[in-house]
Symmetry: C2
Amino acid sequence: MSAMELSKRLRCAALKDRIMSAEEAALLIRDGETVAVSGFTPSGCPKAVPLALAEQVRSGARKLRLGLFSGASTGEELDTAWAEQDMIAFRLPYMTSKALRSAVNGGSPAGVAYTDQHLGMVAQNARYGFYGPIRTAIIEAAAITEEGNLIPTTALGCSQTWIDLAEQVIVELNLRQPAELEGFHDVFRLADPPARQPIPLTDAAERIGVPYLTCPLEKIAAVVISDLPEKPRALAPEDEVSKQIARNIVSFLKNEKAAGRLSADVCPLQSGVGSVANAVLLGLKDSDFEHLRFFSEVMQDGILDLIDAGKADMASATSLSLSEAGMERLLGNLEAYRGKLILRDSEISNHAEVIRRLGVIAMNTAVEADIYGNVNSSQMNGTHVYNGIGGSGDYARNSAVSIFMTNSVAKNGKISSIVPMVTHVDHCEHDVDVLVTEQGWADLRGLSPKQRAERIIENCAHPDYRPQLRAYFEDACAAARGAQTPHLLDRCFSFHQQLKKTGSMRLDTETDSQ
Amino acid sequence: MSAMELSKRLRCAALKDRIMSAEEAALLIRDGETVAVSGFTPSGCPKAVPLALAEQVRSGARKLRLGLFSGASTGEELDTAWAEQDMIAFRLPYMTSKALRSAVNGGSPAGVAYTDQHLGMVAQNARYGFYGPIRTAIIEAAAITEEGNLIPTTALGCSQTWIDLAEQVIVELNLRQPAELEGFHDVFRLADPPARQPIPLTDAAERIGVPYLTCPLEKIAAVVISDLPEKPRALAPEDEVSKQIARNIVSFLKNEKAAGRLSADVCPLQSGVGSVANAVLLGLKDSDFEHLRFFSEVMQDGILDLIDAGKADMASATSLSLSEAGMERLLGNLEAYRGKLILRDSEISNHAEVIRRLGVIAMNTAVEADIYGNVNSSQMNGTHVYNGIGGSGDYARNSAVSIFMTNSVAKNGKISSIVPMVTHVDHCEHDVDVLVTEQGWADLRGLSPKQRAERIIENCAHPDYRPQLRAYFEDACAAARGAQTPHLLDRCFSFHQQLKKTGSMRLDTETDSQ
């Protein structure tokens, strides 16, 4: 790295004497404290200092048990490296790391208190003092301006709040992140009650803040120069089931438009994370919708496809959650996307006020849904957390139309995603307007629970599971003599119990076929 | 009624020829249509036309099956009278009528499709077209102005939206309702996306609308003069358990203030409906808090006590849900409350945007809560709806601090309100910050599920049930080897099953002791 390149990135003279190595900066972090980091999904998280810290523990030089707060999930340099050293005592609000998931679900000798929480409320709750003090913020930056302002990288998350709450800030100046990201961000400091004013955002394309994070110079304890690359998650290739889900969602959206209800070319879309969500974006590319806008949490590759194809005008999110190929495509043509992509604080991208106002059409993924429309999006078998609720609740509760999607079956048909009763409720029946599988879509709006059950079983369940779902529903109706929500408490988890016993939810399976 | 009195109430000359009897107006309603009515909780609902309609069915003169939309619950003139004639085919969003509850839970020969829904979203969903067309709105008014504007009575609910959506409007001009209520209301017409602007409300005491409902004169099909009294619900007398819950809530609020977090004398309070909620209000009267403000759904008698005692400055709600004594007190001294009580549209009183902005401290009632903090507020035994979710979700999800309260036991100790797993989830673990019973309070913020379980069992469960709750939790932890949310799917409803078998949730009960 040339001195000239560094001086273009580190433009604040007063901070030059705070440059130190990742190892030195890691020593500024004390055992027992809470560390809060930039980024959202693996994007935009610090890398060098977390890795140095994990190495200090691995080598036996230090013993550390820390709190770790982030915008959402972090990458292998943080959640994975720290979980492997059993360094995480308290973690919020979200994760996708296999190592951390295993630790949270009982694999950590020392224990991890993992609190998953609506992502849009994390910064506010931290400011309100609900999570205790934060001592250190580690913020990845693409540049530091003359005034000492920080240019964020590929995600914003809760960075501004972490800076405001932390006693000390460690900046990872990542030269591998493109300096050209300057100008893509819109950082808005939300005042707290009783001084809070309306968030002045009335259109997904508006800018309401500044393109940098602000931090008092005296708070910056270290500047670490890094060139560690992001390690984006690969997207699973589109399969036929994902494509059919996408076609069903497009079919529903067209139906809404034809009925004169809120339409996808009038209201912004929110699209969840993952391969199915990305397939939906690609499905929209082949639809008749024009001038699509996104007010979402993350931007996946499909957003770039839609913009490139002239089908989407712009997208607002808190994170660029692109695949490696997607990131290359963005960086290779960054100026073409300027003004079309806005990266906001996760507090704003996921804010009830803005989502409700804009009339967002929300599309989120379910792990399982029950016949009455309750959705589990986090806990496998009701006990083992997969990732967490994430931002799905921010959107589902406040959107104009809340769509949940899932494959009708998983594990080669051994698991039905439609069950009599979900083992964990993240989204109650009142927050699920439409349920979509590759089998079809069920519009649940205005329906009573029993009406919903009939529609979900017929439209969304896999044909292999419809008979046993119908049998449950009919028996429950008979036993409860037509109660509002017929259930048999001794049979409502029979699908899950059968799975445990035989390896399949098929009630006609007698032996373990796993 | 003198002609002079009537002319003071019906000031619009153009409407004088539309006066007709309740029976004549009832004939304007056709079989199969949806009727939408003013009011919220029994307050402010029309009475004469609904009773006339029920009588036309009872006498055999007409056969009617109708949709019925309201702000929240209605009184005996509507839900009860109509359910008794099995006239309700489709009902939303809330009820408290015993007759309707019985019909919904299987007692209606023809069936009632009852959809309970977050009360703050009902008007919006209706405008979005999710519930189908509304043919008739019946609006209770205290007066009709020179221009034909309607002065609402004791509640607003969704009246303005019903007027805007209906083909015809029947006005019940109720002379028994005090004309002096003019000026207490603040009606705000919320534009829909993409034209929606920020709701300009930054303080519970602000007015943002007009004090009347507007309706094109040509839409008014009938003016029915009525003098039927409101039939407020009696409040159960305060018992020692309610008082102890109230003391625990005040203790929690004091603790928040001492910790420097959002305080009840800075942020407005929301208080649910019922005797326990009213006891909390009375508990606040004896606290050190000053200048309390309420941003709530209903005003109960306790609000008047707080204002009278100089402890509360004002209250904003959508309904005056006062007892008969409370209503007399209000009407006997109406001018003293002018400017201190604001009645808003339920869409505004329960709006995510405003609740989040103001930092409302929410206090709602649970039917049961589980050891992980999930709350059931609507379905008994998971199957039989009691009232519905009401507005609790509007506040719980969007408040600064979400408190749920319940007696630790019901039915003389035969039912524990703290159970291993709730049989129905209205409020997921992420929306419950604090759980309060007469035993104590559990602050769940930032805790992992297992930490929550320990705190809820020790602080909130009744001592009689702690051993069997601990046993469940320990066995679940052992079986799930420390999963994030330990559960035993074959035992999680054991309390409910024991209740069904023996009449008590006590697992040591062998025989039916009911």
